[in-house]
Symmetry: C2
Subunit: 98 residues, 2 copies
């Protein structure tokens, strides 16, 4: 997976097919909601497992029935295709299709 | 466990015996560090389990080899003894003595 810095127009194009994702404080971010607290924690753990395998670790914020992810690529000082790949995988985990 | 709002002097006294805990943005908060990412995620999951049993849910932020907790008591609009109880339990989980 490419680790190059995407420019704003490239990010905008990719965001069109990344439902619910947006850029907040320079990080590709999304908040997911859950019916109960434990489901959110399990989701967070599942994303963390995949992230660790990718060696690409998002910030994960666990709130009450809500989990937020935020990721960028330190090496390139911005958002890279690798971040969008993590976003795609997180969505698959959420949908239960990973 | 009491759900009453502690005043500043009561909080100060309790903080003396709550190593590493401090008040940030009105929440009782602490950051824990780990040797690897997975350990932090397991810690977060373990704290979440205890928190859910207590029905008292902290904000949990998982970063790279670092997990931060922040908690207050919504019902009382501040920090209560219940928050310090959660802090104590999180420390026990961290030490592996829960």
């Amino acid at each position: 997976m490419e680790r190059r810095r995407l420019d704003e127009s490239e990010i905008a194009i990719r965001l069109e097919s990344a439902l619910g994702w947006r850029v907040i404080d320079g990080k590709l971010s999304k908040a997911y909601e859950f019916g109960d607290y434990a489901s959110g924690v399990l989701f967070a753990s599942s994303v963390a497992y995949q992230a660790d395998r990718m060696d690409h670790h998002p910030d994960i914020a666990i709130g009450y029935r809500k989990v937020s992810l935020a990721v960028n690529t330190h090496d390139v000082g911005g958002i890279s295709p690798f971040d969008f790949e993590l976003a795609r995988i997180a969505d698959l985990v959420f949908e239960g299709s990973f």
